[in-house]
Amino acid sequence: MITIGLLLTLSFIGSLAALGILIWAIANRQFSVNQQDAESIFEKGEVGQPDDSTAFHAEKSQEQKGFDAVRSRIDDPGRNVVILMTIVAAVMLLLGSAFGLLASFKLHLPDLLSDTAAMTFGRVRTMHLNLVSYGWLSIAGIGVALWILPRMFHTPLRWPRVAYFGASVWTIGVAAGVIAIGSGWTEGLEWLEIPWEIGLLLAIGGACMAFSVINTARHREVHHIYVTGWYLLAALCWFPILFFIAKIPELHSGVQQATMNWWFAHNVLGLWLTPLGVGAAYYLIPKIIGRPVYSYSLSLLGFWGLALFYSQVGIHHLIGGPVPTWVVTLSVIHSVMMFIPVIAVAINQHGTVLRNLWAFKQSLALRFVSTGAVMYTLASFQGSLEALRSINSVTHFTHYTVGHAHLGAYGFTTMVMFGAFYYMLPLLTRREWPWPRLLATHYWLVVGGFAIYFFSVSIGGWLQGLGLMEVGHPFADITRTLQPYLEARSVGGTLMTLGHVIFAVHIVALLMGKGATARTRNETDATGRPATAEGI
């Protein structure tokens, strides 16, 4: 009774406060946007001009080359930290893929490398997860954010050395955390395995990079904060809070810890990796095509809808479990509500691409980003359906969930990051990709590999789930049924890893100066112009 009374009182107070903030915000026109704001990522006269150094070289006008030069000057202070993060991200991706592949092989070759504790499945799988989520995706996402935000804000990155320090500390934290897990020192919670003592490094590093970003935002030379900024800035507020609360030692135990665990774990996806990916896509898609997004007001719905609904979906990981019914139901409802922000983002991003399919065909950077954006829509729809109690009864506890997780983290976020790097690095280094054909090879390897991966674990997982629901179905049969699907997953994973090797080798070659100097540069044009909006 106390609980219900408290619940009602708190939700009443919460609603009153939220209503008050909403009235204040509307009265102060905080929430109004118009279609002109969608063009704030373009310079005057730039709309209608496609922009991707891997595809539209010949079409660049003299004026556009001038914009490139000005933007290049904005890049200058942040160049070192973004290049550092690019290298670290690529290394983390390769290591993460190697551990993921090993874990996959171990599921059908269980005696492979089983002589040492560090190489046991439970640790290899966990090192994979931490390397790809906190290593590859987080570092790639922040790195791209550190490059996009100054360009959007028309002002160079502030405190670049603080950001550089932060990126280094974060990297050391991830490396130390992964070594700790390999040696058996773990917190033992999914997505929170890194011991809190090492987690402090991620907190310090993340805070340093966030300070640099916020300081840049405070010095912005534009009136409007473009939608990408909402996602990236909010993500940089959310992650430290999530991480800090989840990591407080000795505070959580029993099933209370389980609810905290999944509140955190799904918010790492929903309020951290997703906004990094969606934010980057919201900048890159219109920028590469040269047309603003389809409906800018919809992006407002997409952003606040994501914040409101995604933040409360976590307990759908405990459906049918030993936690209060109401909290499970709450998460199921919010999972279904996710259709709203996802459709809003889908209309905006796919709508823009569909009206400009010529760009999708020509620009590989756009092809990566847009494929990722489509996967976001699919992963989110799938996630909403998976959260329904009836479907969850089959998919819970199976490899189907693994497929879903990879559709989000790989199909969506990783693909967007690939595209972001392909677009960004030539502009950042003022060099061309040395072997442009490798972009297509990379694309088809990871798309083909991932298709094999996804369909094998999804079909295998569904059969596993049906087996687990059936009375009298022997466990041995379920394991035998899964075998070919787990083998197919390893095939898919191998192709994906090959794609990653190509990606990493190409980055190394570019950074070592293999590519031709970019033809878009027009140094003389740019000198003397201040790197601000007024200057252009």
């Binding site: 909402w230 307990i315 209060p324």
Partner: protein, 210 residues
């Protein structure tokens, strides 16, 4: 959306409300309950075994949360036990509920498979018992010796899995881990208030609680 502060306040307020709903309120409700008197805290050895379980990442293939009969009858049919409730985990930190069943649920494995010998053999080489098993072998929890000393616990193995001319004896880590597995017995009944903390969303009516 032209200013930083309202954006940050809005974003943080929404996360705060999610934290209230998903972490704080369930926490208050769960922590109000005392566990059944029949649930004992882990002994030092069982806790040491639990630390092994956590450190080796057993949770990534084994759940510890049998489902209710209203959701599926299969869990009980496998012998995995009654549907668990919140207070069954009172002494668990970190929790090991798990989200994957590449292997079977283990919350009641101590009742289902009580033999120490069976577990030692199975941990040393699961395929010596089940040829279809894909569970990892844990040879590093054991030691191959020329001759066992009197206090050693020798692992029974079929000839093909025995190292040439040696005997396999359990290290302390293996014995601790088995002690923990044996302690996994949530077989006592839960009634009334204690049975209230679990997802009853599959129950057709209040009268049919499992």
């Amino acid at each position: 959306m032209n200013r930083l502060l309202p954006l940050a306040i809005g974003a943080i307020a929404i996360l705060a409300s999610a934290t209230l709903m998903l972490v704080i309120l369930p926490g208050i409700q769960i922590n109000q309950q005392k566990p059944s008197e029949q649930l004992q805290p882990y002994t030092a050895q069982e806790q040491a075994g639990r630390d092994q379980y956590v450190s080796l990442g057993c949770v990534y293939c084994h759940s510890q949360q049998p489902r209710s009969g209203s959701q599926t009858l299969a869990d009980a049919a496998h012998g995995w036990g009654r549907a668990s409730v919140g207070s069954d985990y009172h002494y668990d930190a970190p929790h090991q509920l798990g989200t994957m069943r590449t292997g079977p649920d283990l919350l009641n494995v101590g009742a289902r498979l009580p033999s120490v010998e069976w577990h030692l053999t199975h941990l040393y080489q699961p395929r010596s018992i089940f040829d279809w098993s894909i569970m990892p072998a844990y040879p590093f929890l054991f030691e191959a010796k020329d001759q066992a000393s009197p206090e050693d616990i020798v692992v029974k193995l079929p000839a093909e899995y025995r190292p040439d001319g040696k005997v396999v004896v359990a290290k302390q880590e293996a014995l601790d881990l088995v002690a923990y597995l044996q302690s996994l017995k949530r077989t006592y009944p839960v009634e009334g208030e204690l049975s209230s903390i679990r997802d009853q969303g599959f129950d057709t009516s209040k009268g049919e609680r499992k």
